[in-house]
Amino acid sequence: MKKIVSVIFSVIAAAVMCCTASAQCSDKVIDNAGLLSDTEEASLEATINGMVEEYGVDFLIYTTNTLDGKDIADYARDVYNSQNCGVGSDKDGAILVISMENNKVRISRYGWAVEALTEYCNEFNIEHITPYLTDAEYYEGCDTFLHYCDIFIEAAENGKPYDDDNHYITAEDWAIVIGISLLIGVIVALVACLAMKSMMKTAVPKYDANDYVRKNSFKLTRQRDIYVYSRTKRSKRSDSNSGSGGTKSDSEGTTGSF
């Protein structure tokens, strides 16, 4: 009797755990637009599975040729829900949607992923993904998305999520910083050293004879300043309303174009 009861309780407990534990998308990569090869899909899935296990945050990469008349943000949400994605009751996770209909890309996040993948992180990610998508390097773009999500989520787990007050600096950024600093250093050093060198030779000819102008002898007899014509140039300003580099952010995520 006791044995039967304990078995029943185990079955019930397992059923409860199954229902309340991570729902998670069954497929981590859904390539409806046919942008990825089987090998690439498998690689991305493996990466996502690793991240789910490590961080307890779900990911879905979704490509499509049509948004079915919806806004990409709504489309992303509908896909995320219909695929039953997300870990835990808050459905912690993020989705990357690549739409070939209007060349748009969207990152939406839910649950704890909203804190980990801040608006700064999403905009950063979109800016780094879109060059790959523009060049039709879709696997590289998706891999880049996962790469940065990994970095951002780890930082959030350590209590220091990347945001507007805490920027993520890539190795490329440091290379640019050092390059610019070196250029400034070389220019300053050159100017300083040439100035020191010029002090060594002071025998230079005079350009003019203005040491010999008789005092008060200079007089202007005619001055004319005539306005002749104008040239006007108009240039369109870069769109500042949509965030940095052509991205648009809202409470759920960020959209970009490629």
Partner: protein, 355 residues
């Protein structure tokens, strides 16, 4: 009746009368112009630049023959003259020995002399001061250089006085920036700027000795001509004088060049309030040009360092000291790389902080 054609100043297309705007109008760039502006603009554009330099020929006031001795350098041909009691032994130009030249009877008497005001000790002290605060000077130069010769020399100069008149036409621009909706707008306004005027130049010096480096002689200017006096043998005592070997005629081009540059600079200083100014047409006329012959005091110093002679000159009236010192290339590159490293580090830290 001939028809005058007007060209658009902006794009050179032909202008037509715009009856709607009552002005001359360009059909290519849509600029419009008042008829008076166009007439003035066209007349000014048609003017060609003119340069006229008029100098009265130099008339000398005789020679000094008594109480002087002339020397010649067998090495470079330099000729110097000294007072009878002053013995010259070394050529101030190449440091070779000089010998008496009995073929020379006298020297051209100068119209003006500026006597030496600064003595030999001051010249030597000036050399020491000149070596201070020179980061690229080889560290052993001060201890190891050997003063070879220090000579008080009267250098011959031709002095040019003139009244200079100029007319200069400039193209000047002013730029405005503003925003209109989604657009950044930049408007550049073009102006024709004309300046006419003149100034008097007194005693513009051009050195009359081929052997004296013009750069050195111009670098130690100016001389205060108010202290110039009539020539007297007494001023020559203890010093030597160089003989001129560049005539006044051959010195005129340099005088013309300096006076022209001078009047151009004076005119340019009156064109203000523009973002850019470019001279397009310059006419200069020099009149009342007078030439006089002068002797100016110069201390010539030469010093030897690592088998190379380094020369210096000091204005014998004002004490202004010029010369050329050796550069330690080791120090140059050490400073270069050190400053590069330091500035790179600071700039990286600042940029990293801003990132």
């Amino acid at each position: 009746m001939s028809v005058q054609e007007f060209k658009c100043p902006a794009c050179a297309a032909p202008l037509k009368w715009g009856s709607g705007v009552q002005k001359m109008k360009c059909e290519y760039c849509d600029n419009t112009y008042d008829i008076d502006t166009m007439l003035e603009f066209t007349a000014e554009e048609a003017e060609k630049p003119v340069e006229e330099y008029s100098w009265k020929p130099y008339e000398d006031i005789g020679e000094v023959t008594d109480g002087i001795k002339s020397y010649i350098c067998k090495s470079c041909g330099g000729q110097i003259t000294g007072e009878e009691t002053t013995a010259a032994t070394q050529c101030p130009y190449c440091d070779s020995p000089v010998v008496l030249d009995n073929n020379v009877s006298g020297m051209l008497k100068p119209d003006i002399v500026i006597p030496f005001k600064v003595d030999k000790e001051a010249a030597m002290k000036a050399l020491g001061n000149f070596c201070l605060h020179k980061p690229l000077l080889p560290k052993d130069f001060v201890s190891e250089n050997r003063l070879q010769e220090i000579t008080g020399l009267y250098v011959p100069f031709w002095l040019f006085d003139a009244e200079a008149d100029a007319k200069i036409r400039y193209e000047a621009t002013k730029t405005e920036h503003w925003t209109e909706g989604d657009y950044d707008v930049t408007r550049t306004n073009y102006f024709m700027v004309i300046r006419e005027g003149g100034a008097a130049f007194d005693f513009v010096p051009v050195d009359g000795s081929e052997k004296m480096d013009n750069a050195y002689m111009e670098a130690i200017e100016p001389y205060d001509m108010s202290e110039g006096v009539e020539f007297n043998m007494a001023y020559l005592s203890g010093f030597v004088a160089d003989k001129y070997d560049i005539s006044s005629d051959d010195s005129k081009p340099r005088a013309n060049e300096r006076v022209k540059a001078g009047i151009e600079m004076l005119m340019r200083q009156t064109v203000t309030g523009y973002d850019s100014v470019v001279a397009q047409n310059t006419s200069v006329k020099l009149t009342e040009g007078n030439i006089s012959y002068a002797m100016m005091p110069v201390w010539i110093l030469s010093t030897k360092y690592k088998d190379k002679i380094y020369r210096f000159a000091m204005n014998g009236q004002t004490g202004k000291f010029v010369g050329e010192l050796p550069v330690s290339w080791g120090k140059f590159w050490a400073y270069f790389f050190g400053i590069t490293a330091g500035v790179t580090l600071i700039a990286s830290l600042i940029q990293g902080f801003l990132l």
